[in-house]
């Protein structure tokens, strides 16, 4: 089998240029989808028969929650690739994921609390899903803290990768918490087997938000990856060419 494509992904100048080329292709569709999704969700969608207009928080909460989990999975995968194949670019990708994931975990928790107050009567409960999402935030912060605390970049890569991989156990715990335990959190309406239990005019903007947030994440991650690669490769020859242009 020909693995040259795989090796090219290990080449920093190649990754740097490719990331730069791809960014606008993710960023612009993301912007359009997020604007359209917000308009559809906040203006066009009908109020919920039980939750009234309060349900509209789902349009920012669910896509943030999706990102918080998806980014962690990607970060752990990249860290594992970096650890197993000693691929520096993979470690850089994992490092690029962390701050974005942490921010969207904050968004998930905060928007969830703002929904919980009127619907459950409380901002916070030590419920399995809520607690596990809070643990996710600590995992992100721990990952970033560990990287910042170790001066040698290679040791920082390896140590933080181990933390990221161990922490991935938390992802299925969050995902299935509402099925495994008696959670106060409602069961999924869209991300489940079978047909979504939500009407079309509510669903369409939500799907736009999911897709828009995913594309947005890729765009932001690519920009962060470029910064990360540049910082690591600052003594390399190819950086001179990049800087000269």
């Amino acid at each position: 089998m020909d693995f040259t494509w795989f090796h090219r992904f290990g080449s920093p100048p190649h990754v740097y240029r490719l990331a730069g080329m791809l960014t606008p292709w993710f960023a612009w569709p993301a912007l359009v989808l997020i604007v359209a999704g917000l308009y559809g969700g906040l203006v066009l969608a009908p109020p919920d028969y039980q939750q009234g207009d309060g349900f509209r928080i789902i349009y920012v909460h669910a896509p943030s929650a999706w990102l918080s989990l998806m980014i962690y999975s990607m970060m752990a995968t990249a860290a594992a690739v970096g650890l197993i194949w000693r691929m520096k670019v993979a470690h850089a990708a994992a490092a690029a994921c962390a701050p974005i994931g942490a921010w969207f975990t904050v968004a998930t928790l905060a928007t969830g609390m703002l929904w919980g107050k009127p619907m459950w009567g409380t901002y916070w409960a030590w419920d399995p899903r809520l607690t596990a999402e809070l643990v996710l935030l600590f995992l992100y912060l721990g990952y970033m803290g560990l990287r910042a605390a170790i001066e040698d970049p290679q040791r920082a890569d390896r140590a933080s990768a181990v933390l990221a991989i161990v922490g991935v156990i938390n992802v299925p715990i969050i995902r299935y918490s509402v099925e495994w335990w008696n959670s106060i959190h409602q069961a999924p309406s869209v991300m489940k087997m079978g047909k979504p239990s939500i009407t079309g005019d509510m669903l369409a903007p939500l799907l736009m938000m999911f897709l828009g947030f995913t594309l947005y994440f890729v765009a932001v991650m690519l920009v962060r990856l470029r910064a990360e690669v540049l910082r690591r490769e600052r003594t390399a020859r190819w950086v001179e060419e990049v800087v000269a242009t």
Binding site: I34, G54, R56, A107, P118, Y216, R234
Partner: protein, 55 residues
Amino acid sequence: MNEFLSMGGYAEFVWPAVILTVGIVVWNAFTARRAHVAALEEARRRVAVRSTEAS
């Protein structure tokens, strides 16, 4: 318009949630760009120092 802003009585919960999330979206795009620009400038400085050392 007022009806839209009042969110059926849920304004104090819906709007902070929306504004916070949009804020985080904008902030992450901004900081990512800032990190890239900073890395470029740092690389530029190094290259400049190296070329003056060489000459």
